[in-house]
């Protein structure tokens, strides 16, 4: 039996890198230190692999790659989409293919945390790595996120409990504020919980900005409250902000998916910038899928834009809403799709899935999921971080190398994508 130390978990944006994994006879025997989800993910990494299929029938890898290349090469407005749970090495191949076939290129951030990235295009963002939260943060704000259930070790490793360089007492050295529309296991850990009515992120951020900037808000209806929470409470939050040394605000989908999406985050970003006139303050997005941040990073260094890119003219163009996956499917304007390392069958509205079923879809995934049953071409791949190595980007942009601990019968998605790319190139040249 071999024990692998310092294994990087690939599930969420935390990328905990202290896992211990026991491997025997090319099988995972035990996972230690991981959260429940991470443990399950690694333990089940090799299970439920789909068969290679073309049009529902089992096929050879070569035949599947060939069919994939044919579909993509012929498509007049293809969609290349996914990437959030694979390595940046595979993502780089995805971009290359998208360029080559003049496709639309997008990743799941466009309907999850993408608004936070779009906000950075307008305002920028003052942020930090998670270690700054651990070592310095004496004020932590959780806003519209529930890490206890979604980023299970975030509180212990990074944000709430760890004893840091300048927070030797851990939790005792921190004031904690939670803003959410309901009580969650996370909000219960806070010193101050503001239960807000849904849909008012922007107003909250605006009023906090005003208070941070020393302005008195004026309520036309005379009710001194924002999002159902009295102004007193918001004033308390601002007092805490102004009294801290180093504040860190973690925001989740409750902020990015709230009404007006990216504009909320833009205002939150402005709030953080304003706070820096008084104290040091950072904000961090609670990125979900293991390497969804990597999609944004890779797409940005290769295409200039983090999501929603179109190559129909050969050069990258960017416009969320126009080239993001959900509205493109709403307009039913794509005629083929390459979907890798994401599961639209599980993550997209039902009508999106209905439309995808009407066009040829090539799907690469380590597992049977809710897309494999109907995709035109299904190619199983080695699970990254377990049977394939490569780079993942943590929620704070720290890149880590995920490891290969076991052999999979299947190639990595990086290798499959390279094969598809070569085939398309070959077809184009002959």
């Amino acid at each position: 039996m071999t024990t692998h130390d310092n294994v990087v978990c690939t599930f969420c944006g935390c990328l905990c890198d202290d896992l211990e994994v026991d491997v025997e006879d090319n099988a995972i025997k035990a996972v230690r230190k991981a959260c429940l989800i991470g443990k399950n993910k690694i333990m089940n990494a090799l299970s439920h692999a789909p068969a290679i299929r073309v049009n529902g029938r089992e096929a050879s890898l070569g035949a599947a790659v060939e069919e994939a290349a044919r579909i993509l090469g012929e498509a007049k407005n293809p969609l290349v989409y996914g990437m959030s749970s694979t390595t940046s090495e595979a993502q780089r191949e995805m971009v290359d293919i998208a360029e080559m076939i003049r496709a639309n290129l997008d990743n799941p951030s466009s309907y999850c945390h993408g608004p936070g990235v779009l906000a950075r295009q307008q305002a920028g963002l003052v942020t930090c790595t998670l270690g700054e939260a651990k070592n310095r943060a004496d004020l932590v704000i959780y806003w519209g996120c529930n890490p206890v259930e979604a980023h299970m070790r975030h509180l212990t490793r990074y944000s709430l409990q760890p004893k840091g360089l300048y927070t030797p007492e851990g939790r005792k050295d921190r004031k904690v504020v939670a803003i959410d529309i309901r009580q969650t296991p996370t909000t219960k850990r806070a010193d101050l919980f503001l239960q807000v009515t849904p849909g008012h992120t922007f107003e909250i951020a605006s009023v906090l900005r005003a208070l941070v900037n020393g302005l008195e808000p004026e309520f036309q209806d005379g009710r001194e409250e924002v999002a159902g929470v009295p102004m007193e409470s918001w004033r308390r939050v601002v007092e805490m902000i102004k009294a801290c040394k180093y504040g860190v605000l973690f925001f989740g989908l409750g902020v990015t998916q709230c009404r007006n999406t990216d504009i909320n985050v833009e205002q939150v970003s402005r709030l953080v910038q304003d706070a820096n006139k008084h104290v040091r303050f950072s904000a961090l997005a609670m990125r979900g899928h293991g390497n969804v941040n990597g999609c944004n990073q890779v797409m940005t260094w290769q295409t200039g834009f983090p999501l929603a890119v179109n190559f129909s003219r050969g050069f990258p163009r960017h416009n969320p809403g126009e080239y993001s996956v959900v509205p493109m499917l709403a307009r039913q304007e794509v005629d083929a799709a390459l979907i890798v390392a994401t599961d639209p069958g599980a993550h997209l509205p039902a009508d999106a899935v209905r439309f995808l079923k009407t066009i040829p879809v090539i799907h690469l995934d380590p597992h049977e999921n809710l897309t494999t049953p109907w995709a035109t071409v299904v190619i199983p791949v080695a699970p990254v971080g377990v049977a394939a190595a490569g780079t993942f980007y943590r929620m704070d942009n720290v890149p880590l190398r995920v490891k290969k601990m076991v052999e999979s019968p299947h190639p990595s998605d990086e290798d499959v994508l390279k094969a598809i790319k070569e085939k398309i190139r070959h077809v184009a040249h002959t």
Binding site: N77, Q121, L215, Q220, R313, G321, E322
Partner: protein
């Protein structure tokens, strides 16, 4: 010679089409065959106008700028009238994204609906939409902080979110309802909304005006009430819009508006004018 051309769509395409080539100034002096040979990007392949349209061309006496009429369901056609500098472009039907974006002169008329980014970052000229417009009418493209910088957009129907977002000058009149964040972050200019406005109108505006005929659900608490009165500019806007065949019958020259200053997070030099409905 003044060229008038009329293109009729043969069948609505399934794929997005980019039709930035179809500008009045581009057809001026061209024959029917030359127009049919102009490029269109369909999906990721280059086609010609002739594969999608039939054309008739009339050369009239006199000088006058060219006039181009497009007929058909052009909902999937993007960039119609993009970058137009003069002449007149009439769409008998609906358009997709970016109609009249970046235009600097001339007139674009759309008889049905327009998609997102109508007149985005335009600097001059006039756009009239008889139906509804999508999001980002007159707004800035991603990353820019200067949206529309001149000209006039009249939308007889409703408009989507972020109408006039980050605009720097010019006038947008929406006869019907308007989405959220009208005039968001604007630096100057005027957005006039007849129907029901969405939330957060005028949020983060540094300067400029959002004029509303219908009371929004809430005025942002970063705006402050000034007074009720008859702003001297309203009759001027009213007269301008009347010339563009856009009338706000609920607001005559004697209409009283409530005035609010904001957004104080950005200095408070912008204003919201809200028509005081007669009791």
């Amino acid at each position: 010679m003044k060229t008038s051309a009329h293109l009729t769509l043969i069948a609505a395409p399934d794929l997005p089409v980019e039709a930035e080539s179809l500008l009045p100034e581009h057809i001026s002096g061209k024959t029917a065959d030359e127009i049919l040979a102009m490029p269109l990007l369909v999906g990721n392949r280059m086609e010609t106008v002739g594969e999608r349209f039939t054309v008739s061309v009339v050369e009239e006496g006199g000088d006058g700028p060219a006039e181009l009429t497009l007929t058909g369901d052009l909902t999937r056609f993007k960039r119609i009238g993009e970058g137009m500098t003069g002449g007149r472009l009439v769409v008998e039907g609906s358009t997709g994204f970016h109609a009249g974006a970046m235009m600097s002169g001339g007139e674009l008329v759309i008889t049905k609906n327009a998609g997102d980014y109508l007149g985005a970052m335009m600097s001059g000229g006039r756009i009239v939409v008889r139906g509804n417009a999508g999001h980002f009418a007159g707004a800035a493209y991603r990353g820019f902080n200067r949206g529309m910088s001149g000209g006039l957009i009249v939308i007889h129907g409703s408009a989507g979110n972020l109408t006039g977002a980050r605009m720097r000058r010019g006038i947008i009149a929406v006869r019907g309802a308007c989405g959220d964040l009208a005039g968001f972050g604007m630096g100057a200019g005027t957005v006039i909304i007849g129907g029901e406005p969405g939330v957060r109108a005028g949020a983060n505006m540094a300067r400029g005006s959002v004029i509303m005929m219908t009371r929004p659900k809430e005025i942002m608490p970063t705006f402050r009430y000034n007074c009720a009165g008859r702003p001297g500019m309203w009759p001027l806007f009213s007269a301008l819009l009347a010339r563009a065949d856009c009338v706000f019958p609920e607001a005559g020259p004697e209409t009283v508006f409530e005035s609010y200053s904001g957004d104080f997070n950005e200095g408070g030099r912008g204003e919201i004018l809200l028509r005081r409905s007669p009791l």
